[in-house]
């Protein structure tokens, strides 16, 4: 469970997150909003790349803001980036090993964890292929596997569906949708693909200009007039 209270982030004169308070309890929670709404900033604050001006984040009793980014990762916070970040000169398995290297479990369990996650994302045959040879979807899966392999507590995914074809998104839907059941982690998913959000997220949060304008069951939120207005704009005078 992620408990965010009074979180504020400024970038110069821009208020990226404005006094956000929210309790996130569901297994998979979507975060949507127009460009510049503060979605990525929220993930950056959670993973430690942006320091907030004020506020607190409590995850399962741990004060997340007191930890350096790599310590948050070791504690069990995994994230992906909008742009896929696989090291091209490493094999798929070695890309995933980077996460295992920093986790505390013993060697035997590590290779078991590797095989399990490779099977889960469907890259068993590609384990020894250099990441440079992968297509964008396989790179994305490698990155997801790296996020999942060390049994994280929280997984933050920043637009994992970007640039993938319809059929690849189906695969992604399966992989994201079953994270809780297979790895036990809570997922926070940012994406512009409303269909993906609708199919995997039980609850959804909508950000606009750094504020939460709606938070609740996904279907209810997507029908909300304020949300539609934020995405599509409103007519002048109405």
């Amino acid at each position: 469970m992620i408990k965010i209270s009074d979180l504020t982030v400024h970038f110069g004169g821009v208020v990226a997150l404005d006094n956000i308070t929210v309790d996130i309890q569901d297994d998979i929670v979507g975060v949507i909003g127009p460009n510049g709404a503060g979605k990525t900033t929220l993930i950056n604050v959670l993973s430690g790349f942006v320091l907030p001006d004020s506020g607190a984040i409590d995850v399962e009793g741990v004060d997340l803001l007191s930890l350096a980014p790599h310590r948050r990762a070791r504690w069990g916070l995994a994230r992906s980036f909008q742009k896929v970040q696989t090291a091209d000169n490493l094999s798929v398995a070695d890309n995933i090993w980077v996460s295992l290297d920093t986790s505390a479990s013993i060697g035997m369990r590590k290779s078991a964890a590797l095989n399990r996650v490779l099977e889960y994302v469907g890259l068993v045959d590609m384990a020894n292929v250099p990441a440079a040879m992968l297509n964008p979807c396989q790179r994305r899966m490698t990155e997801l596997a790296r996020c999942l392999v060390a049994s994280p507590r929280i997984v933050l995914l920043d637009e994992p569906g970007g640039g993938l074809s319809e059929c690849e998104v189906d695969r992604l839907r399966y992989v994201i949708g079953n994270i809780k059941a297979n790895f036990g982690a809570q997922v926070l998913l940012i994406d512009h693909d409303v269909e993906l959000i609708r199919s995997v997220c039980s609850k959804t949060m909508v950000l606009d200009f750094g504020e939460i304008i709606a938070y609740g069951p996904t279907e209810t939120v997507l029908q909300d007039e304020n949300v539609k207005a934020a995405y599509l704009g409103t007519e002048i005078g109405t």
Partner: protein, 326 residues
């Protein structure tokens, strides 16, 4: 299978090269060339350290020759201060130099690219001044141990008293040093370095302690420089403070690029160009400074057309040749 075979033949080629260097080469060259080749082998190790930092992390280190000087100073100091065997002194020199490299990297590590390069160059300049102020120990009294006329002698390893034996000995140490560094590539630090090189943020997000692994790479590079310095002290017996100006570090870095970073052969080529080419010119009566012109042209060539250096070009050549003969 093909990949496997290729790896096997590459391994044979490596072993063959090392065997020729150790067994055959010392037999067919005369005493002047033994000295030149010893020095080339030693600088191969130092160049490999530079190449390590550049190929794994994209960091430019322009203070490697200064660190070689530091390693040499410590080696000479230990030689006259204590009766330890050569190997023990060499190890201590390497470890202390590695530590110096790490301490110097500590402030530098927050910089990248040109700024880091400038800082390391300033460090090299600092070493140049310090070394010319304190000179290298030659058996005199006091901590700095400098006497006008050397009253002592730099000892060599018991098994390698002669120049030829010392050449063999140096090559063996250099091979071990390169193997130690290359082993990192396929283990935890290598993976962490690759991730850092791709994106520091992503490495952090994967739990990698970015500062620690950058420092580790600097430390390892310093360890190789210290080993090279210790070996050089044994080879020349007397070191001259004038031989370690800051410019030499720039030259060594440039030659590491020309040779090809990230491959042992690139470092061998760098060591060869750095020490053997000027000697060849001297031998045939051409001004050795002409080699600098050639190095400049070679650097331009490497930057424009051969990002993997001469080593990369050779390996492409062999691959093409292998395909033709299939």
């Amino acid at each position: 299978m093909i990949l496997h075979l290729r790896r096997e033949s590459r391994m044979y080629a490596t072993f063959g090269f090392v065997a020729i260097c150790i067994l055959v080469l010392p037999l067919i060259i005369d005493s002047i060339w033994v000295k030149v080749l010893t020095s080339a082998a030693i600088f191969t190790l130092a160049a490999y350290g530079v190449s390590l930092l550049y190929s794994h992390l994209g960091l430019v280190n322009l203070s490697q020759v200064a660190l070689v000087g530091a390693g040499g100073w410590i080696m000479l100091r230990l030689n006259y201060a204590a009766d330890f065997p050569f190997e023990v002194n060499l190890l201590i020199s390497a470890v202390i130099t590695a530590f110096i490299g790490m301490v110097l990297a500590l402030p530098a590590i927050r910089m990248k690219g040109l700024y880091l390069a400038l800082i390391t160059l300033m460090i090299a300049g600092g070493f140049q001044i310090i070394l010319s102020a304190i000179q290298f120990p030659n058996g005199g009294s006091g901590f700095f141990g400098v006497a006008l006329q050397s009253p002592g002698e730099m000892r060599r390893p018991v098994i390698a008293e002669s120049d030829t034996a010392y050449l063999r000995y140096s090559i063996v140490i250099v091979v071990f040093g390169i193997m130690l560094a290359a082993a990192h590539k396929f283990s935890r630090p290598g993976r962490a370095w690759a991730m850092i090189r791709k994106s520091e943020a992503n490495a952090m997000a994967a739990g990698v302690n970015v500062t620690f692994y950058k420092l580790w790479c600097f430390t390892l590079s310093g360890f190789l420089a210290g080993t090279a310095g210790g070996l050089l002290a044994g080879a020349l017996k007397i070191l001259d403070a004038k031989s370690f100006p800051a410019g030499e570090s720039i030259l060594l870095f440039a030659l590491a690029i020309v040779g090809g970073v990230g491959h042992w052969m690139g470092a061998v080529i760098a060591g060869f160009l750095y020490r053997v080419l000027p000697a060849i010119f001297n031998n045939i009566g051409i001004d050795a400074d002409l080699s600098l012109v050639i190095f400049g042209a070679a650097l331009l060539h490497a930057i424009m057309t051969a990002p993997n250096g001469i080593a990369g070009q050779i390996s492409t050549l062999f691959q093409a040749w292998g395909r033709q003969n299939k």
